[in-house]
């Protein structure tokens, strides 16, 4: 194995070996301001694509015993701008549009007439904290069937009384634990938690679970993704 070589030849050999490492310099692209955002967007997009692949429609989030619940008064209240958009409950309705057979306005009573689901599930915030809450409501999938939604459409989007907005991939919208939630801790949803109707999606991070719903749309095209997503957060963020 051992062979002789003169020092000049060794130098050029070493240089060649060093030059093979030039691909490492490509990482410097992340330091170029013009390229940084597109690269990070692509990276986050890949993560979202992978997340969607990992999502199993029939796999349920863990549920918990009543004794494991975070007390209702220790369930954090996260509104994005106002604590209470002062929804008029008497005149409230959910306006449905898009790829559905029966668009129009739906009352809370119509949603409450659907089979009720109550679940103790973990609510995970993108910040890293989590709480276990008790949520009651109708399956979003039941409601989508009621309104004759095109279940092959890609997204369900919602608008909120506080101008918050969100979008949901259809697979998650049809997940059995995804609720149109009108109760927390066996009591009607309070104003700070999004009364009269919010989303409860145990398989998604907190910011996807919009409060104060006013509009729901079934669509194949997203003009905007969500309040936080449009500022750079993950679009899919499934847990």
């Amino acid at each position: 194995m051992d062979s002789r070589i003169n020092s000049r030849k060794f130098k050029s050999l070493s240089r060649r070996e060093l030059l093979k490492l030039t691909p490492v310099v490509a990482l410097g692209a992340f330091a170029i301001p013009k390229l940084q955002q597109p690269l990070l967007k692509a990276g986050l997009g890949f993560s979202d694509w992978f997340s969607a692949k990992l999502f199993r429609p029939g796999h349920l989030a863990a549920t918990f015993a009543d004794s494991e619940l975070t007390p209702a008064n220790k369930f954090p209240i996260n509104g994005y701008d106002v604590a209470d958009p002062e929804v008029d409950f008497d005149r409230w309705k959910l306006t449905v549009a898009g790829a559905v057979q029966e668009p129009g306005d739906y009352t809370l009573a119509q949603i409450q007439a659907l089979p009720k689901v109550t679940q103790n599930t973990r609510h995970v915030c993108v910040e890293g904290w989590d709480v276990i809450g008790r949520f009651g409501g109708a399956r979003l999938s039941d409601f989508l069937k009621t309104i004759g939604a095109d279940l092959t459409a890609r997204f369900v989007t919602v608008e909120c009384a506080d101008d918050y907005y969100e979008s949901l991939d259809m697979a998650t919208a049809l997940h059995p634990q995804t609720l149109l939630c009108y109760e927390m801790y066996d009591a009607p949803l309070t104003r700070e938690h999004g009364a009269p109707l919010r989303l409860n999606i145990p398989t998604k991070v907190g910011y996807k679970q919009a409060k104060y719903l006013t509009d729901l749309k079934v669509t194949n095209v997203l003009e905007k993704v969500g309040y936080w997503e449009d500022q750079g957060y993950s679009e899919f963020y499934g847990l």
Binding site: E17, V24, A42, G43, V124, G128, Y233
Partner: protein, 231 residues
């Protein structure tokens, strides 16, 4: 394992020195790309941690440590997540390529810590930290180095496993369960980062102290005048 070796003859003086090809190209490539991605993962991870610098309840929140923003990457939580969820794939890809190359080339024998290395650990610790005599150098890596390099590979695998448990606690509920639940998975992920940073610190100190030839060999692959080659 067959390691290439050369005898270099100085073109002017005719002096002779040995050189050994210690680090194949794939290992060097993975080392540097992974080093950059580990730096980004730790920096952005610390910015993510800043959003909730605690491992307990949200109400009332007891902060564990106020990590300065200037020692973090991403500027804000959303930005840090973009860096973290981009570089994680580079980190994993180089990690997998490295492991696959080590296993299939047999090169891993150079750094894998095995039971027969155990007796060699204490003499090296005594030498490095307590001014003990220097044990004879027989291989490219001494027992303590093998221990460090093997450990950091295990930590690397665990950093990814705990990361997935935190990122996908429902799809990978079995991972989160193995780590003692979502809360503990997040804590493990954090502690593993510090263990890896401790390794990096020690690694850099050793390179600065007596590692110029080591440093060059991680760039060119060739190590001049290695101690373990008899003259």
């Amino acid at each position: 394992m067959s390691t290439q070796a050369l005898t270099i003859e100085d073109a002017k003086t005719g002096e002779v020195v040995e050189a050994v090809y210690e680090h194949p190209f794939i290992i060097r490539l993975c080392h540097w790309v992974n080093a950059v991605s580990l730096f980004v993962m730790a920096g952005s991870g610390l910015q993510i941690f800043r959003a909730f610098p605690s491992f307990g309840a949200k109400i009332p929140q007891k902060d564990l440590l106020n990590w300065p923003k200037s020692f973090a990457i991403g500027g804000w939580l959303g930005g840090a997540l973009q860096w973290h969820l981009t570089f994680v794939w580079i980190y994993i890809a180089t990690g997998l390529l490295y492991l696959a190359y080590q296993i299939f080339s047999g090169h891993y024998k150079q750094i894998l810590f095995v039971p027969r290395d155990v007796p060699g650990v204490w003499p090296m610790v005594r030498h490095y930290f307590f001014f003990g005599p220097k044990p004879p150098v027989k291989e490219a890596y001494n027992a303590l180095q093998k221990h460090a390099y093997t450990s950091v590979i295990v930590l690397g695998v665990l950093s990814v496993a705990t990361g997935f448990a935190v990122w996908k606690p429902i799809q990978f509920s079995w991972l989160a369960w193995m780590m003692g639940g979502f809360h503990l998975a997040r804590l493990w992920h954090f502690l593993i980062m510090w263990a890896m940073l401790a390794f990096v610190f020690g690694h850099l100190v050793m390179v600065v102290l007596h590692g110029w030839n080591n440093f060059v060999s991680m760039l060119t692959g060739w190590k001049k005048d290695p101690e373990y080659v008899a003259k």
